[in-house]
Symmetry: C2
Subunit: 300 residues, 2 copies
């Protein structure tokens, strides 16, 4: 999947993340809670595109930073994403027993241990970025800014807030304003934070930081719109219905609100805004520009 | 409850925590996810003794620090404690519909929103201590140390790990070694971290930090033993059975493993060790000394 989306520089980040991530997870075969560690690893394996950590590393590189120093932060972002998937899949939430083509964490290990593994991944994310051993060479203020950025994006005003809106508006009328707030929280907030975290570690100034946040936000929003279009297209093809003809599973989507055509137009506009924001980085940001267009055209 | 346990200096901390805590929780009546914020507040209300934040503030004071600066950290510790209670009460965990004399979060607001409110409280804890607005006057390295201490104590090697052991060893043979590891994780790790966090904010040196951790650990372990004794005594009085005659709810306790008398002896030993560790602080630590004995003698 990475091969189709990523130019060589991003592909190299993906490869580095895959190598680094397991080492940041707790590993102790003799610990009595070893099963908890196993579930944490399980939830982070088979991670798909690893978009968020790749964004951390690439923004760090583009801002002239050392990507090796950004790696704990990149892996922390991926752990936060993974914890959110574990909790989202729970029976009381989206009740999904499949994730990335295999059993979801609670389907494989039981609900209680899945709740705990999610909690543990969130804690672990903060633990690794605050660990002095992983902050070597990073000015303290940069580390603090990056950690604060992540905490804000993950919490009640960001990702958890978006998931709460998703639940609270199920089977209720949703307008575009609410849908945008919901998807900003669920998806775009962490994209935005990932881009900003890379800049923080590189010590980038306000102009670059603002541009990175704008890129991440627009990329995250367009990512979600494309998701909705792909879901609706697949569903309508399967069921022989015209796309956009209903609200899937009692949840509003960009397609249910706007139809496929207008949703696709909105995704394209957002990608154009994302790319425009990259101008402050000059041609160093070519890979990020290519990524935005590749995500728009992706087929799954 | 606080009045019986706390000397005036600790009582003042308790009062300060009660005043400060609501302001650190997200509040926005117009936010569409306002219900999430409401549940976060609900979970932090009626908080009982507030032992952990009181420990943060008192160790800060005893080490010569400014307790006002330690307040966000104190409130963060309480949020982490509250999140853990919300998740522990879930139907898939301890399945408890009552907490502190009223409905538990999931009983009041539903399971899905309770999971999210717990997640949001954990995130919020890190958000408030990393927020530059709340770190004014605290050297960056001190704030980082305190945040790292908390992340470690809360996660897979601490509180979440202890809860995992609690689940993994349900209805299985448990020896004292496992029970100690379990209770260290579930209870003592966060007590220990609370004491250390207060020292970090005050910029205390290694000797004081080690002493504070020892006090917190011993206090937390004895706290749990006393809990087990109080539970067993209440249960056996209700059922007319001799205390220590069975394993309650399929879970081993200090009483089920040792009997009431030896368990009480162990709690007393641990309190003595806790008090001994305070010697490096001289008579500044009198309130902490009194607290340890008061917790040992508590009736609920």
């Amino acid at each position: 999947m990475g091969n189709q989306l990523y130019s060589p520089v991003l592909q190299a980040h993906l490869s580095d993340v895959e190598k680094a991530l397991p080492a940041y997870l707790p590993q102790d075969n003799k610990a009595p809670q070893q099963l908890l560690y196993e579930i944490m690893s399980y939830a982070c394996e088979a991670g798909g595109k690893r978009l968020r950590p790749v964004l951390v590393l690439e923004f760090c590189r583009v801002c002239g930073g050392d990507t090796a120093r950004a790696m704990p932060f990149a892996c922390a972002v991926e752990m936060i994403h993974s914890y959110s998937l574990v909790h989202d899949d729970l029976p009381c939430m989206d009740n999904s027993s499949v994730r990335r083509g295999r059993l979801s964490a609670h389907a494989a290990y039981g609900e209680a241990m899945a709740v705990l593994a999610g909690d543990a991944l969130l804690n672990r994310a903060f633990e690794i970025i605050l660990d002095p051993a992983n902050r070597s060479g990073i000015p303290e203020e940069y580390a603090l800014r990056a950690a604060y950025e992540l905490a804000g994006a993950s919490g009640a005003g960001g990702m958890v807030g978006g998931q709460a809106l998703d639940l609270l508006y199920e089977n209720k009328p949703v307008d575009l304003d609410i849908l945008e707030k919901l998807q900003h929280g669920k998806t775009a907030a962490l994209f935005e934070a990932a881009c900003a975290v890379g800049c923080h570690i590189a010590g980038a100034g306000a102009e670059k930081l603002t541009a990175a946040r704008e890129y991440g936000m627009q990329l995250g929003m367009s990512f979600q719109i494309v998701d909705d279009i792909l879901d609706a297209t697949a569903t309508s093809e399967q069921l022989g219905k015209p796309a956009g003809s209903d609200i899937e599973h009692g949840k509003a989507t960009y397609v249910s609100l706007l139809g496929v055509k207008a949703a696709a137009e909105l995704a394209k506009e957002r990608v154009q805004k994302a790319v425009k924001a990259l101008s402050v980085f000059g041609n160093k940001a070519d890979a990020l520009c290519d990524l935005a267009f590749a995500l728009l055209k992706r087929k799954k």
